[in-house]
Symmetry: C2
DNA sequence: AACAATAACGAACAACTGTTAGATTTTCAT
DNA sequence: ATGAAAATCTAACAGTTGTTCGTTATTGTT
């Protein structure tokens, strides 16, 4: 196995490219068929190499899954943080929340990265701990935005912020289960709807 | 294999009891470890019979899964409908919606029946079609409540009801992923929070 | 008590799994 | 062009899976 860190000279080695391709197709296959129904042989076939060759790049099947999860959560986190930053530190916490929701949806829907991969309870224990921590960190972004909205005195009282946060994350996560890329809805429109519910509810005042 | 319809005389045959026991333990195991990580041998062991004996009651492993899904969605549907009926046909559609949310959460959390079992896209195609129809029927209950609320002129405009419905179902479904039965929250309290968000949002007027 | 129907056993199966290791090819600096 | 290093191939392995089937035990009716 090799480390995935590219050679010191700027060049991308052949192994770097193969490794990246493996992660790419594995992500798609995991999402499409569920982590358990994807064998190393299928990943290999999709990446146009033989099954045994995978073990030159990854020490085990679990390592592939770990790499996929790492890149997935990490990538989403980066884009969400970028969107928040772009909204501007001086903007309302609600504007930043809307930006975060949109970025999250755009990333997860674009990268086929969603609930399917997040059924973390069934991961091997070693992976699970690390991934759950990553997941908690990610959720903390949204928790922080809610707290800031509260501090800016934008929120009404009488609700449990942590429960609302988890309900929101659930709604968000589940989108990948019903979203149809060929349908009329854009990720941003879904984010608008969700933000609308959070802002006003759906009931007449 | 046998049909599961109990003998004409009121008696429950031994096979009826075994079959029921198999479905029961399979439901728990599927939920606990994920559908894919549960082998027929584990189900058999949990039901205190041998693996081969399962095929006297079910023609295949998929048939067990089908039975579990059938009873799960069917059971939830029954309890939700009952809760709506109990709320009274003359009550506000919002009151009935609140009752439906509570019943759904109580059932799914009590019966360990949740998203884990609902990763329907990865089901064998034959099962998937039937189960997706059942799922659509179930979602239609909530769609109907929203429509009735609209007819009763309780809802503000400016949102897409079908998107809001799916976001709500997502929040609902995902609860089973984070809910801790030993924690302080009751299913009813979660339903209250969700209903609160739907009603008023979380932002100051 | 005897007998047929019912229910469960238990050993075997073929297919598929992740993984290994030695042989083979490709890559690239010299 | 040559040789070493890097990358891939190929065949095999041990274990697990769903399933089958002939045998055995249990049940309920006469």
């Amino acid at each position: 196995m090799q480390t995935g860190v590219q050679a010191a000279n700027g060049k991308l080695t052949k192994a770097d490219k193969t490794r990246a391709r493996l992660i790419e197709v594995a992500t798609r296959l995991f999402q499409e068929h569920g982590t358990d129904h994807v064998t190393v042989r299928r990943i290999a076939a999709a990446a146009k190499i033989e099954a045994g060759s995978i073990y030159y790049h990854f020490s085990s099947r679990d390592e592939i899954l770990r790499a996929v999860l790492e890149r997935g959560v990490g990538g989403a986190r980066e884009e969400v943080m970028a969107a928040i930053a772009e909204a501007g530190a001086d903007s309302s916490a609600l504007v930043r929340l809307r930006a975060a929701l949109g970025a999250h949806l755009k990333y997860t829907l674009r990268h086929h990265f969603s609930s399917r991969l997040k059924a973390i309870r069934r991961l091997p224990k070693r992976l699970r701990d690390h991934h759950m921590q990553q997941e908690r960190d990610y959720a903390a972004i949204f928790a922080r935005l809610l707290r800031e909205a509260q501090r800016e005195d934008l929120l009404r009282g009488g609700f449990d912020p942590s429960v609302v946060r988890m309900l929101t994350m659930g709604a968000l996560t589940w989108v990948a289960e019903w979203y149809d890329p060929k349908g009329p809805l854009t990720p941003d429109e879904i984010a608008d709807e969700l933000m609308g519910v959070l802002t006003n509810g759906i009931v007449k005042p």
